[in-house]
Every structure is written in structure tokens, then in C-alpha cells.
């Protein structure tokens, strides 16, 4: 992969221009001649007398760069708790030593593409497939199957905070008993009746 500065530039270009031809004059307004020449030298871009465009190879590298930048930005902001200004500084450092294997680990730490707006990588698809088999909203759990509560999205529905008092929180085992007249769930403490809408915000894992 290219160095940190080039990675950021490639990510920006892939996002902004895609594979389309751009007027060289317009591109030069944002990037230095030296940067453009370096990209062309590595076969990431084609530069004619009046136009500029990313090559297939450049576009692929750009997409990967965009993913790396997005993942690391979220990592800095959410895991390290850095401000936007601090993130900009750290990004250069982290991008410098990034490898595809490391990027996957960072991606795992932030919870993959389906919980953030970032380009999906191979690890995201793999995790999605794995979780689809095990973690699912309560309204997709078959009747009579035991499941472990993984996450309750109380930010979406504050009334779900009541579940804590009714004995449902991450780590507790529940079983969907029947779907009529509402979703009826058996817990260690007793039974609950919930609307379908609310069950969509409770994520469980089959045990």
C-alpha cells in the first residue's frame, strides 16, 4: 500500500472522482503537481495534457484506502475517544503501519461495516454471515428456541429501559413462547408481552 499521505489522497479521490475523467486544471486546485506525479508513477492514475483519471489499479487502491481511513477515523473517535483534531494527527501515524490483517482487526474492534457507514471489507461480510446465523432481532427468533440477550437498543426506544426492571438485560436467557396476541417471551422471572416493533430492537443469540 502507498504511504500515509498518498493513502489519504487516494481515498479522497476514489470518493470524489471515482473512475471518471476530470479536468486537470480542476484537480490541480486541490492537489499538488508532485502528488499527482507520484500517483501516476505508481500507475494509480493517468494524467494527460488536460485530463486526470484514476486507473483501475488506482481505483481499487482508492477503495481500500477509503475503507482504511474510515475504519481508523471511527477507531480514533469511538475507541480512543479522540477529538476530530487529534484524530487527524493520529490518522497519519496509524495509516503508516497499516496492513490488511491489522485493518481487519481494527474493523472488528469498531464492530464492522454493518454498525457504521464504512465500505464493507471481506471481514465485514464474514462477520455478517456469522452473526446472521447466531445474532438476530428477537422477532426473527423461532418460537420455542432459547436465546441469550446480546443487546437492547434503548436509544431507539426509551420504553425498552423498562426491560431492565422486568429482568431482561444482556446475558439473560429468554425464550419466545408465542406470537399471538403479541410477542410473548418467557424469562427467568416470568412472562412478558411485547409489541412486534419493540422486539426488533432486542438482539439475541441462539444458545
Amino acid at each position: 500500500m502507498a504511504d500515509a499521505e498518498e493513502t489519504i489522497v487516494l481515498a479522497e479521490m476514489a470518493d470524489k472522482y471515482g473512475g471518471r475523467r476530470q479536468a486537470l486544471k480542476k484537480v490541480k486546485e486541490h492537489y499538488t503537481k508532485d502528488t499527482l506525479n507520484r500517483l501516476a508513477a505508481q500507475n494509480y492514475a493517468q494524467a494527460g495534457s488536460a485530463y486526470f483519471a484514476l486507473t483501475e489499479q488506482g481505483l481499487a487502491a482508492g477503495r481500500q484506502a477509503k475503507r482504511a481511513v474510515s475504519v481508523l477515523r471511527i477507531f480514533c473517535a469511538e475507541i480512543l475517544g479522540l477529538t476530530q483534531k487529534e484524530t487527524a494527527g493520529h490518522l497519519q501515524t496509524l495509516l503508516g503501519g497499516i496492513t490488511p490483517a491489522l485493518l481487519e482487526r481494527y474493523c472488528t474492534l469498531i464492530g464492522h461495516a454493518y454498525s457504521h457507514k464504512i465500505p464493507e471489507g471481506a471481514c465485514c461480510a464474514q462477520a455478517k454471515a456469522h452473526n446472521a446465523e447466531t445474532v438476530l432481532p428477537l422477532n426473527q427468533l423461532p418460537v420455542g428456541v432459547d436465546a441469550l440477550v446480546i443487546y437492547v437498543q434503548t436509544s431507539q426506544r426509551p420504553e425498552l429501559l423498562k426491560l431492565y426492571d422486568l429482568g431482561i438485560h444482556p446475558g439473560k436467557t429468554v425464550r419466545l413462547q408465542q406470537l399471538y396476541p403479541a410477542y410473548i417471551i418467557a424469562t427467568e422471572q416470568g412472562r412478558l408481552a411485547l409489541d412486534n416493533t419493540l422486539t426488533g430492537f432486542i438482539f439475541v443469540q441462539r444458545t
Binding site: R157, E159, L161, K162, L163, Y180, P181, A182, G190, L198
Partner: protein, 638 residues
């Protein structure tokens, strides 16, 4: 300096109702918290002869802020430094409420607990003395139906003393807290305990740090924050949270003992079938037939007959009339007590001899179902149906109180959102008639040709269709969703049923009775100054020209202002005396069924939404009913 009282509790715990109960009339100010747009209310109240500021804070689940509401509540505690706190808790949110109480005990400000529990469906045996002793805090009971007496609360507030800690933390945490308190106790003057401040700093609470920076000299606040920073470890936060969790769990077990329901085996069949397709509707229908059949047989036919017709009609009223006219002649004073709109003959007679027996029998049937745990099942059964109207199962108990619409409207106050309250109000005004009125209207419909009765039902169904579509126009999003615990069904406990009947009856006597008596006084005064006669003369041409009804119908209308069922009875008499033909009966039935509810309902509406809105709703619904009845009349006469 004016003392400050803070009202704290979880969302939908009944804070606002309590606030309105305590606040000085008409002096409630809604304030929007800067930069958030989240409102909180402020007013004044008198405690022990002293005028205190009363603040109703946004709902919280913990004092460690995780949401905007919690940040605002903590900010209000810090900035207003209340002298006393009223904590409102509900039986169905025990764990989180106990957690808040533990945090309040650390806060060091005297607090009292307003414990809201179900009247007859209580799931726990509650040790009031133990809770009061644990926190050194007074505990006052209330129920979702009636507010606690303001006097009882105020007395508790007068007595309120410094709370007691409920337990210690690990040795390392305790040492840090004690050192902090020792170090800064002479430099910080605050009603909030230093122990609470240091605990919050150990938990990494940024709001407390900001408050210290804003309110104390930079050198002092820097010293405090530096001290706590040096001792801040993530492990401390976990240790404190775990300790609270275990303390809360132990307290819950010590204070609340789950009640052992009786007769579980007997209810097994009901338990199973009350949640099965079709069967749930069958059981719900049977229970409603039982409930309203009981009200009709026991309340309406036996008790009202005995109290109103026999006791009052044959003995008490003639006796009073004889004595009062003997003493005062046929003048104003005699009319005030025993005249056509007199206090004894209408106000007290309807409130105590008609409504009270009717409602007491309803309360008995309702308490029986509530105590057996069936009311929750009924709510669940009606959940899907009510969703069509933009409501949910929570609205079912309120609509069941439709036996008397004033009571039903009063109960809708417990619904979660403004939109739900508005929708249930629309249903009560335009679709659900008073049960006693409904019986008479159906009797009237049986004496007219069947196709006219079908027109009546068609208009009501059309109205229902309009309501179904109208809900989309109301602002306020999708409303709340149904989430409830399903307790096992069991045999009712007679003691609890009777105490619930007494609780509901006391609520009726305190909340509804004064409205009925007030309306009777209003009618008497209107009659005395000639306003009633003027109204009759004013409306008579309209009823004659547009509705083609005789002038005598205006008397039924005036009675309808007082009680809708009386209006229906008067109409029944007119029809039986041959003064109305079939079309006239249909038009009159339509008008009294669709028109604005009685003045008692309007008074309750005024209490909830303000007089301007109540009168507007009254005028609009009357005009609407008049238009529909006039249209049906003119179409049938083409």
C-alpha cells in the same frame, strides 16, 4: 430565602400528576432548558406554612447521566441545591428505582418516597417501615387512579430528615472518599454531600467536574479535580457500580416480597386459553358481559332503584320538601335544596344515589378482574384492535371506565403520550356512549322500524371510519408501544378487592362528585337568573325547524347537559307518550348520542386541557351532532 423542592422520578412514574396536585393553582411555568429545548415545570407550594419553589424535573433512570434528560436533572440538582426531594417510584420499576434511591441517599439531601402502586393488582408485599428505616425517608402511598393527599405529602415533607447511607464500598474506594471529604469539608459549602461529589468524580462524571470548575475558585477546583484524577481508575467505577447493583438487589429482596397468588391450578385453563386465538376474544367478551351485566343488574336495577327511586324518591326527598317548604315557603332557599335543579334533588341525588351505586358496582366487577390479573390480559387482547385507532392495550382500562365518561376521561390521564390522550378523547366523545345511556338508546331503537335502527348504526360506523382516518392527521408520531409483564391468573383476594373498591370509590368521591354537584349548582343558578329559560327559547326554534322535533325535546337537551342518560330517559318518555314518530326518535337518538358529553365531562376536560379548549370541543361537537342529525332528518323527509 425561598426553599426549593425537587420532584424526581422515572419517565411515566406519575411525577407530573403529583406536581399538578401540589402546585399552586394557575402558577405553573414551563421552562425550556437552555440549548436543549427539553421542558421542565416550576411552581410554588406551601409546606408547613412556608412558601417553597417546586420543580418537576425530566424523567431519569440514574443520577449518572447517560441521556439529555438525566444531564438536565443532575444540573438542576447541582444548580438549584434543593432543600428536599420528592422521589416518585412505581412498583413495576423496582430495581432502577432502588438504584436511584441509593444514589439519593449518597446525595445527602432529605428525600421522601412517593410509592405508586396498583390498587388491587399489587404483585409484591411491601415492607414500608423497612424502606423508611433503610433510607431514613418517609414513604407515602399513591395509586395510578388517585393522587396521594397533598396534606399527607406535605406533612411527610415537613418531617423529612437527612437520609442514611445504605452501605460502604471497598476499602480503597472508602479511603479515597473519606480523604476527599476530610480535605475539602471546610472549603466547600454545598447542600450536596462531598461524598456524592467524590463518588461521581471517581465514576468519571464530567458534569460534576464542570460544575466544580464553574462554581469554585480555579485553584480549589483544580486541586479537587487533580486529587480525584490521581485516584481515578476504571476499576473504581466498576467496583462502585457493582456495589450499587448488589445493594439494590439485596434491598429489593428485603423490602419487596413477591406475593403468592391463590388458586393457580384453578386458573390453568383460563391462563392457557386467554392467550389463544379466538378463545382470548371469547373470554374477553364473556368477562365484559359479566362486568357490564353485573353493573346493569346490581348497580342500575337493584341499587339505583333502591337508593334513588325508593329511598330518595319516596321518603327522603318528600320529607325534605315537606320540611323545607314548611320553613322557607316556596322561595329561593327551598328551590335551592329541593327545586327542579336543587342541591338535594339533583346534585346530591345524582352524585350519591344514581352515580355512586352504579360506579361502585362497576368498581367491584373491575377490581375482581384486576385482582385476578385478568385486566392485563384484557389489555393485551384489545391491543391489536386499539392499534387501529392509534392507541394500544394501555388505553383499554381507561376505555372500560366508559361506564361513566367523566371517570373514563379522568383515567386517560395515565396514558403515556399526548397523542394517545387526544385519540382516546376523540373515541370517548364521538364513539363510546355512556353505558346507561346506551341501554336506553337501544331500547328506543327497538320501538322504531328496523331500517331506521340500521341507519343509526350506519352513522355510528361511519363515525368510527372517520376516527380511523383522523388518527393519521394528529401530530405526535407513532405513540408508545405495548410492553407489559404477564402475571399468572389467580383467584381474587376478597380483602384486596374490597380495599380496591374503597380506593376507587374514594377517588370518585374526591374527583368526580364535586364536578356533578358543581354542575347542579350551575344549573340552579342559570335557572334562577332565567338563563336556562333563555337557552330553551334560543334552541327551541332550531330543534323545531332543523330537526323537526317538538319543543318539549329542548327539556331533554337541557337534562342532557347534566346527565346524558337522563336526557335519554326523558326522550324515552316522549316516545312512549306518542309525541315522537319513528324519524323523530331516530334523529333525537342520533343527536343525543353524537352531541357533546355532559357538563361534568366538560369540567373534567377543562381541568385537563384548560377551559378554552374544553368549551371549544363542547361547541364543535354539539354543532357537529346537530348538523348530522339535521342532515339525516332532511334526507329521510325528502
Amino acid at each position: 430565602m425561598t426553599k426549593t423542592l425537587l420532584l424526581i422520578g422515572q419517565n411515566f412514574s406519575g411525577k407530573t400528576e403529583l406536581f399538578h396536585n401540589l402546585a399552586e393553582n394557575g402558577r405553573i411555568k414551563t421552562i425550556y432548558y437552555p440549548q436543549t429545548g427539553i421542558p421542565y415545570e416550576e411552581s410554588f407550594t406551601r409546606i408547613g406554612g412556608e412558601r417553597c419553589r417546586l420543580i418537576n424535573t425530566p424523567g431519569i433512570y440514574t443520577l449518572i447521566p447517560t441521556s439529555e434528560y438525566e444531564i438536565i436533572t443532575l444540573d438542576l440538582i447541582l444548580s438549584r441545591q434543593p432543600d428536599k426531594i420528592i422521589f416518585v417510584m412505581q412498583e413495576n420499576t423496582l430495581k432502577s428505582s432502588v438504584l436511584i434511591m441509593i444514589q439519593l441517599a449518597e446525595l445527602g439531601i432529605p428525600f421522601i418516597v412517593n410509592y405508586v402502586r396498583s390498587v388491587s393488582g399489587a404483585a409484591y408485599v411491601f415492607d414500608r417501615a423497612k424502606l423508611a428505616h433503610t433510607f431514613n425517608a418517609e414513604v407515602v402511598f399513591s395509586s395510578p387512579v388517585f393522587e396521594p393527599s397533598a396534606r399527607e405529602l406535605k406533612k411527610a415533607l415537613e418531617r423529612g430528615s437527612k437520609p442514611r447511607w445504605v452501605g460502604n464500598y471497598s476499602r480503597a474506594v472508602e479511603k479515597t472518599l473519606q480523604t476527599f471529604v476530610r480535605e475539602f469539608q471546610f472549603q466547600i459549602r454545598s447542600k450536596i454531600s462531598l461524598r456524592f461529589l467524590s463518588l461521581m468524580l471517581l465514576l468519571g462524571n464530567k458534569n460534576i467536574a464542570g460544575w466544580l470548575r464553574r462554581n469554585y475558585p480555579p485553584a480549589l477546583s483544580r486541586k479537587m479535580l487533580k486529587y480525584m484524577d490521581s485516584r481515578y481508575e476504571l476499576a473504581n467505577a466498576f467496583a462502585i457500580a457493582n456495589r450499587w447493583e448488589s445493594l439494590g438487589g439485596n434491598l429489593c429482596r428485603a423490602v419487596w416480597r413477591p406475593e403468592q397468588p391463590r388458586g393457580l391450578r384453578l386458573s390453568y385453563v383460563l391462563e392457557k386459553y386467554s392467550l389463544k386465538f379466538i378463545w382470548d376474544a371469547v373470554i374477553a367478551a364473556l368477562s365484559l358481559i359479566f362486568m357490564f351485566g353485573f353493573v346493569n343488574l346490581c348497580g342500575s336495577k337493584m341499587l339505583v332503584n333502591f337508593f334513588y327511586r325508593e329511598l330518595l324518591g319516596k321518603y327522603f326527598i318528600p320529607f325534605c320538601t315537606y320540611f323545607l317548604t314548611g320553613w322557607f315557603g316556596d322561595g329561593f332557599l327551598a328551590a335551592f335544596f329541593v327545586g327542579p335543579y336543587g342541591l338535594l334533588t339533583t346534585g346530591l341525588a345524582y352524585a350519591l344515589a344514581v352515580m355512586l351505586p352504579l360506579l361502585a358496582s362497576f368498581f367491584f366487577a373491575y377490581a375482581l378482574l384486576e385482582n385476578s390479573g385478568y385486566i392485563d390480559r384484557l389489555s393485551l387482547t384489545f391491543n391489536r384492535l386499539l392499534k387501529l385507532f392509534g392507541l394500544n392495550g394501555y388505553a383499554a382500562p381507561a376505555l372500560l371506565f366508559g361506564c361513566c365518561k367523566i371517570a373514563a376521561l379522568h383515567k386517560t390521564r395515565t396514558l403515556y403520550t399526548r397523542r394517545e390522550r387526544a385519540l382516546s378523547l376523540l373515541l370517548l366523545i364521538f364513539f363510546l356512549p355512556c353505558v346507561s345511556q346506551l341501554v336506553i338508546v337501544f331500547n328506543l331503537l327497538t320501538i322504531i322500524p328496523r331500517h331506521y335502527a340500521l341507519i343509526f348504526l350506519g352513522v355510528l360506523l361511519g363515525q368510527l371510519f372517520i376516527l380511523l382516518n383522523l388518527r393519521r392527521l394528529l401530530p405526535g408520531g407513532t405513540g408508545s408501544h405495548y410492553l407489559s409483564e404477564l402475571r399468572p391468573l389467580h383467584l381474587p383476594d376478597p380483602g384486596k378487592v374490597f380495599s380496591a373498591v374503597w380506593a376507587y370509590t374514594r377517588w370518585y368521591l374526591r374527583a368526580i362528585c364535586p364536578l356533578i354537584i358543581g354542575i347542579s349548582l350551575l344549573l340552579f343558578l342559570s335557572d334562577a337568573v332565567g338563563l336556562l329559560g333563555l337557552l330553551k327559547n334560543l334552541f327551541a326554534p332550531f330543534t323545531v325547524v332543523f330537526l323537526d322535533l317538538p319543543e318539549a325535546f329542548t327539556d331533554s337537551l337541557i337534562l342532557g347537559l347534566f346527565r346524558k342518560d337522563l336526557s335519554a330517559v326523558s326522550l324515552y318518555d316522549l316516545a312512549n307518550n306518542g309525541m315522537l314518530n319513528s324519524i323523530q326518535v331516530l334523529v333525537a337518538c342520533l343527536f343525543i348520542s353524537l352531541s357533546a358529553p355532559c357538563l361534568g365531562f366538560v369540567s373534567e376536560l377543562g381541568r385537563q386541557r384548560g377551559w378554552r379548549q374544553a368549551l371549544l370541543i363542547f361547541a364543535l361537537s354539539t354543532a357537529y351532532a346537530f348538523t348530522i342529525a339535521a342532515l339525516v332528518n332532511k334526507i329521510l323527509r325528502i
